[in-house]
């Protein structure tokens, strides 16, 4: 051992240690804030600070990890027991009063929970570099948990943040993203091990720039999207785009190749993943008040009408299902075969803001026209469009007596919409159900469809888990088996039975939202869990009518009602920035006025920065420290000379430059000499005043020897100081 070497004594905590303690204290505060009373929070802060600083100090001693672990465990157990005793013991409660006892108990509890934990974390992190990750993890988890309420698209939560932002016109999403960036910097500060503290601003400056770039990137690329629903409604439409097709063509003209690609969408599954998707996937603004006769808003995205021997798939024909739109509108499009406005249907405009990519547009049934609208917020909304729907107004009971199908259909179309499995059991079951109808309704297509629905409502069991996917005919397995399945099973079963009765029917897929979820407002928030498939029948003069079975028994928890605050907030976001007066051709046009505004703002900021530096350098000699004055005064004079075009050349010494500049400002020669003398340490303190006098002299000499226009130009130049050398 080297005799000159001494054991380092535990150093007192420094600035870095204090800052770390502060970060840990912030995390502890946020974590315990909703869980305890004020005294608990205060003692948790105190405990975190004390624990962090003590942990730092202890890490430099020879304390064993096992010893620290034991002590911390004992402290936690003893402290928790003491805290419980304070509220359990009648003696303490009666002596201090119940409120004081509770306060003391909470204070003791949180102190003994936080202080040893933070102590242990800090101790281990300081001892083993890799353990710092766990400290980061702990702080990150604490902070993330405190903000976890905003998960699943509930961006208005936590309400303290959401309300605060919303009432100030700020976007809570942006606030959450900024918080995330801030937490990144905070956590990075826990990892930093740079000895040279002067470099810390440099490192954190780069990290801050990185975080800023990330925020900008998110603004451009958009927010993360929820997992696609089991029905395949969401996803990137680009992936399904056929290159040969003109995207501006809109609905109707989709090729058969493309449709065959999408046939796998509505597959039977043994375990249907609704994704637990409470996250909103779209926002719909109703431009008029509308109550659907079924009490449910059905937003149809696609239809499955072609029987492929096992199930219904999207059609490969061009002459059927022409009311299904397969492309998002790039220009206004009119949907063929849309029902006419009559006493059965009315026009209803809706504005759709898609929060998640969808494979194709959807609209309230039955859509008649679509047109694009300006995306109100590209960061939040993936796409926005407006739909004109001919929504059903006629009550179901008044449709009794309508004929099935369309008289304009040819035999082929009739056959197409009534094509069902060869299994005779569908027809037999349907026929048995018709026997239950009153005589006068037995031949009515709507009554027959409703009878089938009633059977499924009563006997069917809704469950996301079923065992029919592997069967040759999953629908038969469901209908003639345990009658347990999810919407796809019910829709297929109903459609097959309806078709066996000669009623044109198909399965539609999209979103179904109960009218009650609207909460009286004009906004309908669509969530991933609202994805649904339902049967539809075609009635003469009415069009496609939804006959949706609603099983009375369910094995799964129903999804809760939508969050009304979030619904109205998203509606507001959509409504605020949306303009009806847009030119359809200008969706992707550059917003020049905004661009100019930002450019001017940026220019202003740069100029302000330039002038700020310039004036600071000019004025600092008057209020700077005397010891620094020789330097800043000389610099200010160089700036002034540079303003009027006098600058030192590369390779020119200070003295040579002084001689050259001295022709216009003779005092500069002496100022240079004084500066050099001071810089080399051969000048006395009292001569600082002389430097200032010389600076003033140079200023007046420049004024005399330089034309006014040159001086004005120099004064106006915000970056003249960059030329000074």
């Amino acid at each position: 051992m080297n005799p000159n070497q001494r054991n380092p004594s535990p150093a007192l905590p420094g600035v870095v240690s204090f800052l770390r303690a502060l970060v840990l204290a912030v995390a502890a505060t946020i974590l315990c804030w909703p869980l305890t009373v004020t005294s608990g929070v205060l003692l948790a802060i105190l405990g975190a600070m004390a624990g962090a600083m003590a942990g730092d100090m202890a890490s430099r001693t020879s304390l064993r990890v096992s010893g620290v672990l034991s002590i911390c465990s004992i402290l936690v157990i003893l402290g928790t027991w003491t805290a419980r005793l304070m509220v359990k013991s009648t003696f303490i409660a009666s002596a201090l009063g119940p409120v004081v006892a509770l306060w003391m108990s909470e204070a003791a509890l949180w102190f003994v929970l936080i202080a040893p934990t933070v102590f242990l974390l800090r101790f281990l992190s300081a001892r083993k570099p890799v353990m710092a990750i766990f400290e980061v993890l702990a702080v990150g988890t604490a902070l993330a948990i405190s903000l976890a309420a905003h998960r699943e698209g509930m961006v208005h939560r936590p309400l303290t943040i959401g309300d605060w932002a919303w009432t100030r016109g700020l976007d809570p999403v942006m606030l959450l993203l900024v918080l995330g960036a801030g937490i990144t910097l905070l956590l990075a500060s826990l990892l930093v091990s740079e000895d040279r503290r002067r470099r810390l601003p440099l490192h954190f400056g780069v990290l801050a720039a990185l975080a800023l770039a990330l925020l900008l990137m998110v603004r451009v690329s958009g927010l993360p999207q929820p997992n696609p629903s089991g029905l395949g409604l969401t996803g990137d439409p680009e992936e399904n785009k056929d290159g040969s097709e003109d995207p501006s063509e809109g609905g109707g003209g989709s090729s058969s190749d493309k449709k065959s690609d999408e046939m796998e969408d509505l597959e039977f599954k043994n375990e249907y993943n609704s994704g637990g998707q409470q996250a909103p996937v779209a926002v719909v603004l109703l431009h008029d008040d509308y109550s659907p006769p079924a009490g449910v808003y059905y937003f149809r995205q696609t239809a499955f009408s072609q029987y492929n021997g096992r199930r219904l798939v999207q059609t490969t024909r061009d002459d059927v299902d022409r009311d299904v739109v397969s492309r998002f509108p790039a220009k206004p499009i009119r949907i063929p075969e849309a029902p006419e406005v009559s006493d059965q249907r009315m026009n209803l405009k809706t504005s759709m803001g898609l929060l998640v990519d969808h494979v194709r547009p959807f609209a309230l049934d039955s859509p008649a026209a679509l047109r694009p609208i300006q995306n109100p917020d590209p960061m939040r909304f993936q796409r926005a469009f407006e739909a004109l729907s001919r929504v059903q107004t006629i009550p179901y009971e008044k449709m009794i007596g309508q004929l099935p199908g369309n008289s304009d259909w040819n035999d082929e179309e009739w056959d197409y919409y009534t094509d069902a499995p060869a299994d005779p059991r569908y027809g037999e079951l349907a026929a048995r159900l018709m026997d239950l109808l009153r005589e006068e309704y037995r031949d009515d297509p709507l009554a027959q469809a409703l009878a089938i629905k009633a059977f499924l409502d009563e006997r069917g069991i809704y469950s996301l888990k079923s065992k029919h996917a592997d069967a040759t005919d999953p629908t038969a397995s469901f209908l003639f088996g345990d009658l347990t399945g999810y919407c796809v099973h019910f829709a297929h079963a109903a459609t097959y039975m309806m078709r066996s009765r000669g009623i044109p029917a198909r399965v539609a897929a999209g979103y179904a939202i109960a009218e009650s979820a609207r909460g009286g407002g004009s906004t309908v928030m669509i969530r991933g869990a609202d994805a649904h498939a339902w049967p539809e029948i075609y009635l003469e003069n009415v069009g496609w009518v939804v006959i949706d079975p609603a099983p009375q028994q369910t094995l799964d928890e129903p999804s809760g009602p939508p969050d009304q605050r979030l619904q109205s907030m998203l509606g507001e976001m959509m409504r605020q920035k949306m303009s009806d007066e847009i030119d359809f051709g200008d969706e992707q046009a550059i917003n020049w006025s905004r661009l100019w505004f930002f450019a001017l703002m940026a220019l202003g900021a740069v100029l302000a920065m330039g002038y700020g530096v310039k004036f600071y350098r000019a004025l600092v000699p008057y209020f700077g420290r005397p010891l620094q004055r020789y330097r800043v005064a000389y610099r200010a004079t160089l700036d002034r000379l540079a303003e009027v075009g006098l600058k030192r050349h590369f390779g020119e010494s200070r003295e040579s430059f002084a001689q050259r500049a001295g022709r216009r400002a003779p005092s500069f020669v002496e100022l240079t000499q004084q500066h050099l003398r001071w810089a080399l340490g051969s000048m006395e303190r009292g001569q600082a005043g002389r430097i200032s006098n010389l600076m003033v002299s140079v200023e007046s000499e420049i004024r005399r020897s330089t034309p006014a226009w040159r001086r004005v130009l120099g004064f106006l130049n915000p970056f003249s100081w960059l030329m000074a050398r």
Partner: protein, 430 residues
């Protein structure tokens, strides 16, 4: 030399891999946690905070990896292949600037640079920023000798997420002498090199004779001539007649073994202070041949620091056989303070040597072993105190005494020497 074990080989291999792969364990963990946060919560539950945190963590790792790897590559190419052969003769414990330096990279964010010496070992490297260049200053912890300097340069980020390291070899002769501590002169050794008469530390090398002289601090009051004092008011002391004469030839040997730094320091001081007399021959474990002048003797001391301590054979026997048969010469053997594999060999050599032989045991402090309370053992890691335990030292002294030779203890920490009587008083020897 034992071949490296499989474990050591694997460690070396892993280290070599981790040196060129930028992410560290910490970085890997951060990537895993960030990825999990991003995937499970950012995308899975649309947690915007964890989304940003996850991406930031991964981005940080990528950026730091690129910067670290890029900087390492740039530095590797920029530094000259060989930094010029420079010979360093340094003393352990003292900071010495080596003149070696690299660009500081002060302006480059998210990158830090430092390095360490692999060969010679136990060198603390300090850096100073001078004119944009990080200049190296080293503090050796122990003596040693190396014909090349191996530096391990490490470029890493300030968050410990990424690291790239490489070894650079410069041909430089480095001789590290042991620190002398508080050792200045060694009267005990000087006394043992005298040929006859009563040894006296202040005696001149050429011999001295005295009967009455002025009192000097340190003289025993029993020797003061009080009658003379009463008469003249002058303090004089009467001393026995002394004949102090140095032996003409001394041989000395340094044993290399664990904890031998103090012994090496004692040998160095003995050589530099000239206490071995006019003619001497010096040998040391790890040094081939013998030295008869100061420079090679100091090199021998330095080289003995690089001896593998696993070897049980000591070169003392061979040394004595080679140089100990040149008449009546006194041999001084500098030994470490604890018995070890070397003891048997050395004792046998001492027994076989016909002339006078003394052991000089070098220590860095002596402490009495005390039982530590259980709670202290449980709570605190038991740091090995500086120096040697008294009972171990006593055991060694008894062992050396069993060869019929005298032993002296010289403590580098305090600069004090302990003769036989003092050792007995301390309880170190029986």
């Amino acid at each position: 030399m034992k071949p490296p074990s499989l474990l050591r080989k694997s460690k070396r291999f892993l280290r070599r891999i981790s040196d060129v792969v930028p992410p560290t364990w910490r970085g890997g963990l951060l990537a895993a946690i960030s990825g999990a946060a991003l995937w499970l919560y950012g995308f899975g539950h649309l947690d915007l905070v964890l989304y940003i945190l996850g991406i930031s963590g991964l981005l940080m790792l990528v950026l730091c990896s690129l910067l670290t790897a890029g900087t390492a590559l740039w530095l590797h190419r920029r530094l000259p292949k060989h930094g010029g052969a420079k010979n360093h003769r340094i003393e352990a414990g003292s900071p010495i600037p080596t003149g070696w330096g690299v660009p500081s990279l002060f302006w480059l964010p998210l990158v830090t640079l430092h390095w360490e010496w692999i060969t010679p070992e136990d060198i603390e490297v300090r850096t100073r920023l001078i004119g944009g260049v990080l200049r190296e200053e080293i503090v050796a912890q122990r003596r040693g000798h190396a014909s090349q300097v191996k530096r391990r340069l490490v470029v890493e980020d300030p968050f410990g997420l990424t690291r790239v390291a490489w070894v650079r070899v410069d041909p430089s002769e480095v001789t590290i002498l042991p620190s002398k501590g508080r050792l200045k002169d060694m009267p005990v050794i000087q006394s043992k090199t005298s040929a006859e008469g009563t040894p006296w530390p202040t005696g001149a090398p050429e011999g001295d004779r005295m009967e009455i002289r002025r009192y000097m601090p340190g003289d025993s009051v029993r020797n003061i001539l009080w009658k003379t004092y009463a008469r003249t008011r002058q303090l004089n002391v009467r001393l026995p007649e002394l004949s102090i004469e140095r032996s003409k030839k001394t041989i000395a040997y340094l044993l290399a073994a664990p904890g031998d730094e103090a012994a090496a320091a004692a040998a160095r001081v003995a050589l530099e202070a000239g206490v071995l007399g006019e003619q001497w021959i010096f040998g040391a474990d790890g040094y081939v041949g013998t030295a008869e002048s100061l420079a090679p003797a100091l090199e021998a001391i330095a080289r003995s620091g690089s001896v593998e301590h696993g070897e049980s054979r000591s070169g003392l026997g061979a040394f004595l056989r080679e140089v100990g048969n040149q008449g009546e010469v006194h041999c001084i053997v500098f030994t470490p303070p604890t018995a070890g594999a070397w003891t048997e060999d050395v004792l046998q050599a001492a027994r076989d040597y016909p002339g006078a032989l003394s052991f000089v045991v070098g220590t860095d402090g002596v402490w009495r072993g005390q039982k530590t309370p259980w709670w202290r053992r449980f709570l605190f890691a038991q740091e090995k105190p500086a120096g040697i335990r008294l009972d171990l030292l006593g055991a060694l002294l008894r062992l050396l005494g069993s060869a019929g030779r005298q032993s002296f203890v010289i403590d580098r920490m305090s600069g004090r020497s302990f003769n036989q009587a003092q050792q007995q008083a301390l309880g170190a020897s029986g």
